[in-house]
């Protein structure tokens, strides 16, 4: 199963990178999410996968006797999921805001559309 998971990790990273390279900021956002998925799969798969044995200690016992899934990467992934949610939410609003001010969703056009000096930079002074 590992090779298949590795393959899907690769696909997620490749599509994520492709979207990151787009000029539309909306697509860049989608790329960000895809890459986040890829990263989570990477952590899970790299640590070694195991079916049907979650890291839970049975009631009444002090420790798990038999082989169980590694809890550490799971804790890492949990953190990663939450952080990437925070980033994506913020980025969403930022992208929306940038589009409203710049009037375009093209990053190349945004680069060259520096506001003339003295004009209102879109409420930044409020």
């Amino acid at each position: 199963m590992t090779p298949l998971l590795a393959l899907s990790t690769g696909v997620l990273f490749a599509t994520g990178m492709y979207m990151l390279l787009r000029r539309s900021i909306v697509k860049i956002l989608i790329g960000l999410v895809l890459m986040g998925h890829g990263a989570n799969l990477l952590i899970l798969t790299s640590a070694g996968i195991l079916r049907g044995s979650p890291p839970l200690i049975p009631q009444g016992e002090e420790r798990i006797a038999d082989a169980h899934a590694d809890p550490l990467p799971q804790a890492l992934i949990l953190t990663a999921i939450v952080i990437s949610f925070a980033i994506v939410s913020f980025a969403c609003v930022l992208v929306k805001r940038a589009y409203e001010i710049a009037g375009t969703d093209d990053t190349e056009a945004m680069r060259s559309s520096e506001l003339p000096i003295g004009s209102d930079p879109g409420g930044a002074d409020t």
Partner: protein
Amino acid sequence: MIAASVFTLFALALLAPLVVRVAGRASGWVLALAPLTFCAWYASNLTAIGNGAVITPDAIEWVPQLGLAITFRLDGLALLFALMILGIGTLVVAYAGDALAGHPQLGRFMAFLIAFMASMLGVVVSDNLLLLFIFWELTSITSYLLIGFNNDKEESRRSALQALLVTGLGGLALLAGVVCLGLVAQTFEISEMLERADEITASPWYPAILILVLLGAATKSAQFPFHFWLPNAMAAPAPVSAYLHSSTMVKAGVFLLARLAPVLGATTAWTTTLTILGAATMLYAGVLALRSVTFKRVLAYTTVSALGTMVLLIGTGSPGDGALAAFILAHAIYKGGLFMCAGAIEHVTATKDTRRVTGLLRTMPLTSIALLLGALSMAGIPILFGAPAKELAKKSVTATAHADLLLAAIVASGALFTAAALIVALRPVFARHPHPPNPADPAPTTHKAGAALVGAPLLLGILGLVAGIAPALFIEPLVRASTLATTGAAFEATAKLGAVPLVALKWLIGPSALAVAIGIALYALRTPFGALAERADTVLARIAPPALYQYTLDAALALAGWQTRTLQSGSIGRYIRVTVLGGFVIVGALVWHTDATSAIAPAWEQVKLFDGALIAMIVLAALGAAMVRTRLAAVAALGVAGLGITLVFITFSAPDVAMTQFAVETLTVLVFVLAFYKLPQFRRLTLPSMRIWELTVSLLFGLGMTSLVLIATSESLAPTISTFFSENAAPQAYGRNIVNVILVDFRAADTFGEILVLALSAIGISALLKLRTQNNNDNATEAAQ
């Protein structure tokens, strides 16, 4: 006390601006007290060290792993330099207080000057070569700051940078040489290297060491062909020229060669290289001195020439030969004084040109006397100290294989020095009218030269006179001690340094009188001679290092500009492409090199039908999210991919992760839909050719990540800390869900940080949304008006 003298001066440098603020006009005198005190202490050791004693304080460990220790050693050579640094330093600090009186940046200037003094003192008393190198670089940096002191002038900044780059490059070579030397000698202590001189000269590394050390010394001491930075360094204020660029810093290279002469000097390569290098510099710079017209430039070229003489004398030095020490001392005394006179003259007359300044005998009688004493000493006229120093130099070269040739060179340099001395002293002191007359001459300033401005050079002039008349007073023990340190045998004073009338008589019939006569002739012919030298120099400058320096500098700037334009274009896409491709090449090379791919052993455990469907779902959803044309479809595809990953987590024993992923995925889709509602539809913005290029980058990236996972799962990694968490979750943290226990107990602080990130993100989002409302309100108000 040696360490104290160095470090106290560094501390004083930090305090100097404060002292200047408090002491005002008297700050020069106040600050000069410190070097004066230390100078007195060093001088009190003169007799002992003159008799061969060496003071070595206890070592202070610094970085023992590198062999770097703070070890000092005061022998004759160090004492000679320390006395020059502190003695002339005292005068220069007092002089600078007058020369820059009322300057708004006087505090800064004094800080640099005293920091330089401390660094230079550190160079000469260090026993550890690495420590010496650190001080050496500090002198380069302080020199840079001092040359560029008038930083509102472009010339100053350019000259400062040039000096820094030339001496800095030499410093790098020196560092390499020092490291090689340390590795061969297995110590960085000079005192221990002295005992292993035979091993070092016999080592196969010796030629490399010799070349590298010579590069360092030659750049620092402005030897041909690296001489060009020194005359340009005269953009600095006069006290700096008098101190750094004539009497002390530029002698650091000479010092280093003299210091290492007992270690490296026992070979023909050493003797030959130093002799040729020194002689070439001595004559070339001497000729260039004659074509110059400003005080400081003439003096700068004679300084380069004198440095050449010193290098030559190190090359020809034999045991007991005191020529080097005497020449260094004589030069420091007269050249320091001459530069101070030049500064005083410029201060009062506002003129730098030797042809425009006249009648100093009337207007500045004391400065005139100092100028004459310095010039006479430079020309080597008895009874000034310059004369016996020159005699010793002649004696030194007559003991070598090419005695006639070198003697002729020394006589020629004496003639050039005489001519230079006449240029700076004859007309300015005695003539009545400037030549050629020019009505545009600046009117003399109303500046009055302060006591230190006149007194300091006068004191040095008188010192040269005293040293010439009564060498036994302090010159002889100093030369004896220094010679003992550099050549291994003490210098025995002969009649050359002794009885004055005898010297004067012998001088009249010796080659020195000839040199002076030729010098006078050269002075008379200086205009055609200078023009000739000018022409030769112009031709040489096209191929020689000054041109090379400029070319290298331009090329470096062009390269920097090109790489900024190419790499730092500001285009995000370009940054990502460069990063990914660069990373792929580096990581790929590493994987290839370590042959990590061969370890991949695909573990095709039983792949169930469900698994296959799951993977197909993720892959298709990801591809779909990247390829569909509408925003909503893309968001939907993204949701499907997230769902697939949730299922993967369930399948592979991560129920908590699956739950979180599911909740977050739902929220993400909602956020996207809400936020994208107002955003424009997708468009095709990228050119097809660009698209293929980007597709390649993406595929390479995906391939790299897949390989990474495969390599990671094939390698058996070191045991992780997971075992600790599994075993202690229930007994210690009283939790049965190990993942939860890790998050809220073992790594609770991390989770707290995570919550903070969420909170910050929420604040940011709220601020961005609020901002829009306000802005819209403003626009609405404007529209209403």
